[in-house]
Amino acid sequence: MTNYLLKISNLVVHFYRYEGVVKALDGVNLRIGYKEILGLVGETGSGKTVTALSIMRLVPSPGKIIQGEILFEGRDLLKLDDEEIRKIRGKEISMIFQEPKAALNPILTVGFQLKEAIEAHSSLSDKEAEDIIIDMLKKVGLPDPRSLLKRYPHELSGGMAQRIMIAMALLMKPKLLIADEPTSALDVTVQAQIIQLIRDLVSEIGSSVLYITHDLSVAAELCDKVAVMYAGNIVEYGSIFDIFDNPMHPYTKGLLAAIPRLGHELYTIEGEIPNLMNPPKGCRFHPRCPHAMEICSKVKPPSIWLNRNRMVACHLYSEEV
């Protein structure tokens, strides 16, 4: 089973808050193949970002990874010591954040921060590092990269800052790029450019991508596969065509129906995302599910694999296996 770049099994993450334990991830299973773009889709608070941070081992306190396994090329990232995981961050797995301007240190120059990404992993001379950086800045479509190096983050627009973050993330040609809603803080016009840029660059470098978004149309444009997340669980997984043409899980159906269309009334999924301190028993979606059955409130639905690339976690499909 080494034909996956990344394989997450049964990942459980809890946040130990003062008010109680937030069960943020409840046994997440996820696979990303080589050179594959996987979209991780779900509402705010469904655990998408926590999943990403777990891969980087950057889950902020009071969060703790309780159990599970994150196999990256066969190595369990959760078993590495601090120095080993540091060497992986930025070099083999790198990450782009939601707020590009907040992700750059306001008092350090762009050049300093870009160079840092190289210095952390190699002992190239300043000149060599600068050449790599300038080359990469050109690739992400930034004009006049040399003068850009001396600028401070406040002098950049959001789009420029995100291009710099992408350049920074790809400097070391990582095998996996995690993009956490990289376009949601940007203008719609810039959004399409950034998505295009990510697609072109990763196919050039040959990286896989975990693309986190709450926007299904963005996922449709970019991704090969999609995993739908709800309240700390992956509820459905499949190729982008399967998910769009033949959604199986009631939540996915709801999400697709909620994409606004001209001339149609907006569809909403009844209710709201559950409080993860005290999640519903059984299937976490059952209080909002139009097809809820008796079993749904008692037993957590298993992940049902219809074929190698198609999974749904719902009792509706229990008999089909």
Partner: protein, 295 residues
């Protein structure tokens, strides 16, 4: 909402990085101006004082003892006939070097421990902060007295004892700043590109706390001068012939009723030095602390 916050922060940084604007704001305030003038005069006197002093500060002249201020002796003479004005000029260098050295040492210790404590957290943080608690449990002067008494009189012992009781303030201050900064996205981003802990602490976080350190250490200079004078007054500081201000006040206290000038002039020097640094520190806080400036 979040985006606006980010832009707001970016603007703050533009403003605070504008040195000329800061200088203008600083000089606009009369108290800051007074502070910087006093401190500059002190620094100049510390450098050139020994060259312009009219008399040798150690030279005794029994014929001229306890003379009130006159044109020959601007601040009068003490019980051994030494020129008080010259002694104050020499003392300026002593007090300032104590203040600067103590503040340098205690900020460095506090900075490093505060960074470690705040960034690493956990058990390291607990241990370090409980140690600072132990220091905070005693009044600063009492603890400094105990250390100075244990070490015996002497200028270096004074510095050591004051530094010993001063660093916990900085450790606490830096730790508080670090706790605020370490959850910022850019620190997370720096970790995500594989930057090591040391690098993040010293290259990313340290520059963000430096302004708080500058303000606190300037304010602290006055306190250190007072503390050193206090130890000198109690006989735990510099040994007697040294023209240290606290020692001079102490030596004059027997004559305070009839010969007021013996204690008063060194006392005024202490007062002015402490005042100058406090005004300067306040002024610096007003321009460096962006949050207060917004009003």
């Amino acid at each position: 909402m979040k985006k606006e916050e980010g832009e707001e922060k970016a603007k703050e940084v533009i403003v605070s990085s504008d040195f000329r604007l800061m200088l203008r704001l600083f000089l606009r305030s009369p108290t800051s101006l007074t502070g910087i003038i006093i401190v500059l005069i002190l620094i100049v006197l510390a450098i050139i004082g020994p060259y312009i002093a009219p008399y040798d500060p150690y030279l005794q002249n029994i014929d001229e003892r306890l003379k009130p201020p006159n044109w020959k002796h601007l601040c009068g003479t003490d019980q051994l006939g030494r020129d008080i004005f010259s002694r104050i000029l020499y003392g300026c260098r002593i007090s300032l070097s104590i203040a600067i050295l103590v503040v340098l040492v205690s900020t460095s210790i506090g900075l490093i421990l505060g960074l470690i404590s705040g960034y690493l957290g956990g058990i390291v943080d607990e241990v370090l902060m409980r140690i600072t608690d132990m220091f905070f449990a005693f009044p600063r002067l009492i603890l400094a007295m105990a250390v100075a008494a244990a070490l015996g009189p002497g200028l270096y012992n004074v510095m050591f004892s004051i530094a010993t009781v001063s660093w916990p303030v900085y450790a606490r201050l830096v730790r508080a700043c670090v706790l605020q900064i370490k959850n910022e996205t850019y620190i997370e981003a720096a970790r995500a590109i594989g930057a090591s802990r040391l690098r993040i602490m010293f290259k990313h976080i340290l520059p963000m706390v430096i302004h708080a350190i500058i303000v606190q250490s300037t304010l602290d200079m006055g306190g250190v001068i007072l503390l050193a004078a206090g130890l000198g007054f109690l006989g735990l500081g510099a040994p007697p012939p040294t023209p240290e201000w606290g020692v001079m006040v102490s030596e004059g206290r027997m004559y305070i009723r009839a010969q007021w000038w013996v204690s008063t002039f060194p006392g005024l020097a202490i007062f002015l030095a402490a005042l100058g640094f406090n005004l300067l520190g306040d002024g610096l806080r007003d321009v460096l602390d962006v949050k207060e400036r917004r009003e």
